[in-house]
């Protein structure tokens, strides 16, 4: 469904509110009516509350970058998970996107570390192995003596293909490649799985 164009100057509260509504309506999953409600809240809440949100947005743009080790998002050199001495550096869970780290962390059963590929191999979209962080992963496996690689790419054709590609690159090396148990329905995406499904999938991970 095409999104209708609204001109901020036509808003009954004036152009400032009209612009804010347009910006909010551009966010994923926020429709025109939700954007109006959020804008109303931001107009009528305390200045401190609104400015804290505005500053939090600026702050992530200024400070958030990629972890030097695992390519997760972070506001320091290494992400909080790579920095944590309690996390096992020799067990690495491979995911497509940073949001998958958030989902798996919410399950709360994984004590290893992550590696964020930055996508999946999709030749039809022009995404090749060289566009992902696969070489950095292979180097990390050697340097850190990684014992287990848990494949947690999305259970789709391309996600499975990416896991298989990495698995093939590791043949003959002393690393145990596993993948998430198929508690997750093929064709769905990790982001929308609930934490129970993800916890089951992590506990029941299988030899690849």
């Amino acid at each position: 469904m095409a999104r209708r164009e609204f001109h901020p100057e036509d808003h009954p509260f004036g152009v400032s509110v009209g612009r804010l509504v347009n910006r909010l309506a551009a966010l994923p999953g926020v429709g025109r009516k939700s954007a109006e409600r959020l804008a109303n809240h931001l107009v009528s809440c305390s200045a401190a509350e609104a400015l804290e949100l505005a500053n939090a947005i600026k702050d992530v743009k200024d400070r958030v970058k990629r972890c030097q080790k695992c390519f997760n998002l972070t506001d320091s050199e290494l992400c909080p998970i790579c920095r944590d001495p309690r996390r096992d550096q020799t067990v690495v869970c491979v995911v497509e996107q940073p949001k998958d780290v958030t989902s798996l962390e919410a399950a709360g059963v994984f004590t290893g570390t992550y590696h964020v590929l930055g996508g999946r191999i999709a030749p039809l979209e022009g995404i090749h192995p060289g566009d992902l962080t696969i070489e950095a992963l292979l180097k990390r496996i050697r340097d850190d003596n990684v014992k287990e690689l848990v494949m947690a790419t999305n259970p789709t054709l391309e996600g499975d293909g990416t896991a298989l590609f990495i698995s093939n690159r590791l043949e003959g090396q002393p690393v145990n490649v596993t993948r998430l148990a198929r508690g997750i329905a093929t064709g769905s995406v990790l982001e929308f799985a609930n934490r129970e499904m993800l916890a089951d999938a992590l506990r029941g991970r299988q030899a690849f």
Copy 2:
């Protein structure tokens, strides 16, 4: 349901993203999972897009105030509706909140102006006629020779009571008091009515 407390420093992307997620989750109608998705979008979208949203929020807090005439929200002395020479200043629609103006404007059938009361009379909550903009409305009716007052308070006990109170204050004056047709279900609130229901209600307004 009580909202669980999350510590921003526990977020897998670090404290900057954690803080942003907490701020977003504090908005009305935004749960923890939506807040994560919005934060992910804001982290990965262009800096320009994110900063435009941050600046739009700051802008409304700096610039938006009450219209001097109708108490609607605006970023200038008079709101866009009071400034518009095509709007009939002698037909005034009385609403509780600025968001009701937005809803009625979306219906697109009303060519008069508005008056925002700032709430409804609710003695049990300590809200008395003096807390609303009723005196300013009465003055405006005299000064502008208002011919028709369309009561569009919410169709609740207190909204109806507020409309009745204003109507009683106008007895003997040459102003025709009407109210929205009851196309809107008693007990509901204007904000969630769709534009068709509101358009019908405006067209079929009845003598009060």
